[in-house]
């Protein structure tokens, strides 16, 4: 696929885009597992945590929580601790974790070892969405190779540390990507979010302290330890952006944190298709509020995006062009939430169903003039009342679309039946 033009200086994609990186010999020849070896045999946990803190690494799964800080929440003295890898990658528009696993599964294994040794966990579960069949094969093979090399299992790298890794399948539920729902799922139950606190760092899997970490976050660790936090920051710090939708070259791009939306779309992803104009883009997956042309120069970092009323989320940029109808786009997003709502709390379960119903009638030419106020009302009722961020992420995007693309809604309603679509 696309994207070879990317960046010569890339620090993460370099591993993914080099042939043969699923093989341990190749990976080791390029310096692979040196960072994990150092962590297991030379560095103290505090030194590792300091390096990660100095790198500024923040979680890449969506919430953007500072990684080192999360590690510090894990009680040092606890006898049993777990690392749970979030490989559910369900946020629409996101495919960087799959790209990492398929391109260089050892990078993830090495990142896991670094995290597990540092927090003192002996058991790691990788929650991998079932649909990643190819990734699963490659990951299983990589773990087996690492085990044979003495990097997984007892006394890894000849040290006193032991780390076991088990891959666990997801079963097709978006909400299972939310960390507490993921833990429920890993315990063999319905993926419904838990009350927080307690946070997983204190009482997670089987009520033991648990570090839940996204695939990409872990893949940054060997690079941070390998290059040192200063150099890592100078080289970006790098972020993997999944760019998709109406662009010439969809793909995963590595760019420095703070790259502009414009540069990502036009320099990296090849720009808009011939004859098409940019209309909107979701900067952090469907759960983030979309941006419009006026925002093209916004910097893609958590703070700038928060100021712009949205979020970096999973850094999944979905680009919409002028051939798309914003009402249809929002209708599809709402349908997604309705179908993926876990049903635990009423505002989300009922709210998403109701909103989807209103969209359906608007799309089928049966919209009423009072429907837009109704949508705003339902959105208002959901705001601050949902149990977890899935439900809470519905109102902001919906309200923004009603404000910025009101004319498209009104035209739909005025035109009545246009349909069949």
């Amino acid at each position: 696929m696309a994207t070879e033009a990317a960046m010569p200086e890339s620090v993460l994609l370099r591993w993914v885009r080099t042939e043969g990186m699923a093989e341990i010999e190749q990976y080791r020849r390029a310096g692979g597992y040196d960072a994990a070896r150092r962590v297991a045999t030379e560095l103290t946990p505090d030194q590792v945590i300091e390096m990660v803190a100095a790198s500024g690494l923040r979680g890449k799964g969506g919430a953007g929580f500072p990684t080192a800080q999360k590690w510090k929440f894990i009680p040092k003295a606890a006898p049993v601790k777990y690392v749970v890898v979030n490989g559910d990658e369900g946020e629409p528009g996101t495919f960087k974790d799959r790209t990492l696993i398929e391109g260089c599964p050892h990078l993830l294994v090495e990142g896991i070892l670094i995290a597990a040794v540092t927090i003192g966990a002996r058991k790691v579960y990788i929650y991998l969405r079932r649909e990643f069949y190819r990734g699963r094969l490659l990951l299983d093979a990589a773990i087996a190779q690492a085990r044979a090399a003495g990097f997984v299992g007892e006394r890894i790298f000849g040290s006193d540390h032991a780390v076991e890794i088990v891959v666990h399948p997801g079963a097709g539920a978006y909400i299972a990507g939310e960390e507490t729902a993921l833990l429920e799922s890993l315990e063999g139950r319905r993926a419904m979010p838990r009350q927080r606190p307690p946070f997983p760092a204190v009482a997670g899997l089987y009520q033991q302290p648990t570090l839940v970490q996204n695939v990409e976050t872990l893949c940054h660790l060997p690079v941070i330890i390998g290059l040192g936090p200063e150099r890592y920051k100078e080289l970006g710090p790098p972020v993997l952006f999944s760019v998709s939708g109406a662009v010439v070259r969809p793909g995963v791009y590595e760019a420095p944190l703070g790259v502009t939306l414009r540069s990502l779309i036009f320099d990296h992803a090849g720009g808009m298709r011939p004859g098409r104009r940019f209309k909107a883009a979701f900067p952090g997956g469907v759960s983030s509020v979309f941006l419009t042309e006026a925002d093209l120069d916004v910097k893609m970092d958590p703070d700038s995006l928060r100021q712009a009323g949205t979020m970096l989320g999973s850094a999944a940029v979905i680009v919409v062009d002028d051939s798309a109808d914003m009402v249809e786009v929002m209708a599809r997003a709402v349908e997604f939430y309705r179908d993926e709502s876990c049903g635990k709390c009423t505002p989300c379960r009922e709210g998403t169903a109701w909103i989807a119903q209103v969209f359906e009638r608007i799309l089928h030419g049966r919209g009423r003039s009072e429907d837009l106020a109704l949508l705003e009302g339902i959105a208002g009722g959901m705001t601050g009342t949902c149990f977890c961020p899935l439900g809470e992420s519905v109102p902001p995007g919906l309200v923004a679309s009603l404000r910025l693309f009101r004319d498209e809604y009104e035209r739909r309603i005025a035109a009545g039946a246009t349909d069949g679509r």
Binding site: E131, A171, G172, L186
Partner: protein, 153 residues
């Protein structure tokens, strides 16, 4: 359920501190063998893992990839989420419906295919993305539907 499947489920249970953790992987083992999770199959899984059958059924019914009704020999998932929608998945899905003669959620009368509209498959750079059984197909065009399906008998 065969003894081999039971054995595999017992092995899976050993990977976790609590055996209920093996439920989801166990359900996949059972589904792979039986084609779908009939009440009898769910009961067998419950028995091997020593869990209440109501709990097993409740968990199975929560997740989209467990089939509680018979399905075709090949499962075709067509992603209809945003990136794929912006890349023509509707035309693709319509073509699939036409070729198979069924609607999403249905199975062809000869039991060859089941068709489903899927949420994001995490392959948006290949939009519109399709998963047939365990194979990912990239940027499938309406014209590409028949040659693709030919591969699955």
């Amino acid at each position: 359920m065969t003894e081999a499947a039971r054995e595999e489920i017992r092995r899976l249970a050993g990977l976790y501190e609590h055996r209920q953790s093996a439920l989801i992987p166990a359900l996949f083992v059972a589904q792979q063998e039986a084609g779908y999770l009939s009440p009898a199959v769910l009961e067998s899984v419950a028995e091997v893992l020593e869990l209440p059958v109501t709990e097993v059924t409740s968990v199975a019914s929560f997740y989209g990839l467990f089939y509680l009704e018979p399905v075709g020999r090949h499962m075709v998932h067509v992603c209809t989420n945003l990136s794929c929608m912006l890349n023509g998945c509707q035309r693709l899905l319509s073509r699939m419906q036409e070729v198979m003669g069924i609607q999403p959620g249905e199975t062809t009368p000869d039991g060859r295919f089941s068709l489903r509209a899927a949420e994001c498959l995490g392959a948006c750079e290949e939009a519109p993305a399709v998963l047939v059984d365990e194979d990912r197909w990239a940027a499938v065009s309406p014209e590409g539907v028949e040659p693709m399906l030919e591969r699955y008998r």
